[in-house]
């Protein structure tokens, strides 16, 4: 890493001037069988920052997010949210932490057995922050924020197109006004225009909520649109962090190859080995 890289990293890692990151990962290790998926991940995401985590398939992006969410327990390493070690939190505090987090899953993960309005307000209903009667109105309000009509609320998820499902999933992720939001491959499976629409909605929602966002994606156009910072994970380690706008011109051969989608380069050579 060159001095200019370090300076760039420092500037994107502390945009709020607060040295304590919103999310701090240190030495995160996770092994599945013989495969070491995470091999010492170090990453900071600062409050109000929208960081995009890039990496090839199987590089450990989703596992990183699932570790932060507590869906997977890491073998080693530290996960801090607002300076609190997540592994030391009591069951109640961990639940309270999850209450502040929203998550958009890659395939939407909408509940098939529930209508759209109940999907959107699921968390609010689970936390008893809203009545079922009020949930319909709330769902209509949140659906409007992602460009869907209130009538969509009465449909089943199976009746929606892929783009609509993504928008409903986004509405569900932000309905409870989380201060941390994770986006797992938000534009995968969508056409470029719908992908851009979803990216725009993500940027709007994150700004409106003043939330901290951590997204994982393969889609470079999407990464530049939704991220103000980016990091690349390769073989279970973070190999670069910097401004999302610099993707493709970072000076890091692996990152630039990945960002440009080039066939030849260090990553492919390693795959051939």
């Amino acid at each position: 890493m060159t001095p200019s890289d370090r300076e760039a990293e420092r500037s994107v890692n502390q945009p709020d001037g607060n040295p304590t990151p919103k999310i701090r990962l240190r030495g995160l290790v996770k092994t599945f069988g013989a495969k070491r998926v995470l091999d010492g991940v170090d990453l900071d995401v600062h409050a109000g920052q929208s960081l995009v985590l890039l990496g090839g398939s199987g590089s450990g992006k989703s596992v990183t997010i699932k570790c932060i969410l507590g869906l997977i327990t890491p073998d080693e390493g530290l996960i801090e949210v607002d300076g609190q070690d997540v592994s030391r939190l009591s069951r109640r505090d961990r639940t309270a932490l999850r209450d502040r987090i929203g998550m958009l899953f890659q395939n939407g993960a909408l509940f098939d057995s529930l209508p759209v309005w109940e999907n959107v307000c699921f968390k609010l209903l689970a936390q008893k922050r809203i009545t079922r009667a009020g949930a319909r109105d709330k769902a209509a309000e949140v659906l409007a924020q992602v460009g869907l009509a209130a009538s969509v609320g009465d449909l089943s998820p199976a009746e929606l197109s892929g783009g609509m499902q993504k928008r409903v999933a986004l509405a569900r992720a932000v309905a409870a006004k989380p201060d941390i939001i994770f986006f797992d491959e938000p534009t995968t499976g969508l056409d470029p225009i719908m992908g851009a629409v979803i990216d725009g909605l993500i940027v709007d929602c994150v700004k409106r909520l003043g939330a901290t966002a951590l997204s994982i994606t393969h889609d470079m156009a999407s990464a530049r649109r939704i991220g103000d910072a980016a990091a690349m994970i390769h073989k279970g380690r973070i190999i670069w962090t910097g401004e999302a706008a610099r993707l493709g011109e970072t000076g890091n051969a692996m990152v630039d190859q990945f960002a440009r989608g080039e066939r030849e380069g260090p990553i492919q050579m390693e795959l051939r080995r």
Binding site: L69, D99, M103, F105, A109, F111, D112
Partner: protein, 261 residues
């Protein structure tokens, strides 16, 4: 010698794996049951599954019981007439149905219908991240998915078995009176005279246990399914097969407990 050791190692690994699975299922059941007594309670989910099991399984259970009672009366007549014991048919039908055939056949039918559906639904939710989504939405999947199914299946099965008992006896009554020439009142008297409360109670206890097993195995197989559509298919098959085997095994255990003295 080495072949013998390899064979022993294989058996040992199988036994360890079986013990681990039994332990996993036991812990899973314990966690599921613990959520039944800890708020918040998922009444809406419970009611949804209760209706699905108790109401929508009625046709298949009713038809199975009715035809079983009819066949039982015919077969009993064939056998008993060789010993001039035709008058025992009503007793045999009512005791067989209430003690054994009603609970077991209803449970096997429900295992095929509901156990498979539970495994498929939860399995699909697992492989499409819906189970993880529940966790991120401040909801414990065990509380939301498993506990209501366990309770619904445990409470619904006895109701289905009551219906199965009535229709099984009715099937025997119809064949006895319409085909075999029994006098209706005599047939009913023979039925009531031999029936004891414990016969019905033991059948209902079996039904509740079988219901719990169906809910447990359907949920457990689905919850632990992996690998997309193929994994869900395997989970569905495993749920039905393990439920059916456990139903037959536990049938013996409960029968022994009730009637050994």
């Amino acid at each position: 010698m080495n072949h013998l050791l390899d064979a022993l190692a294989l058996v040992g690994r199988g036994l360890i794996s079986a013990c681990r699975t039994v332990g996993d299922v036991g812990i899973f059941a314990g966690i599921g049951v613990s959520h039944l007594v800890r708020p918040p309670f998922q009444f809406r989910q419970f009611w949804r599954h209760f209706v699905e099991i108790a109401y929508f399984s009625l046709p298949v259970v009713a038809l199975t019981a009715l035809f079983t009672g009819m066949v039982l009366a015919l077969q009993s007549f064939t056998g008993f007439s060789r010993f001039n014991a035709e008058s025992a048919i009503a007793s045999v039908v009512v005791l067989s149905v209430t003690r054994e055939l009603g609970p077991v056949l209803a449970a096997l039918m429900v295992a095929g219908r509901i156990g498979a559906a539970m495994a498929a639904e939860i399995g699909t939710m697992r492989v499409t991240d819906q189970v993880d989504a529940l966790t991120t939405l401040s909801t414990d999947p065990m509380k939301y998915l498993v506990a209501p199914r366990l309770l619904a299946a445990t409470l619904a099965m006895p109701l289905l078995v009551i219906v199965a008992n009535i229709l099984g006896v009715l099937g025997g009554f119809l064949i006895g009176t319409l085909k075999l020439g029994f006098v209706a009142q005599t047939y009913l008297d023979n039925t009531w005279d031999v029936l004891e409360v414990m016969d019905v109670v033991s059948g209902l206890v079996k039904a509740a246990v079988f219901g719990f097993v169906i809910g447990l195995m359907g949920s457990w197989c689905g919850y632990n399914s992996k690998g997309g559509a193929q994994g869900v298919g395997q989970a569905t098959t495993a749920a039905v097969v393990t439920s059916s085997i456990l139903i037959l095994a536990l049938d013996y255990v409960i029968t022994q407990a009730f009637f050994s003295k």
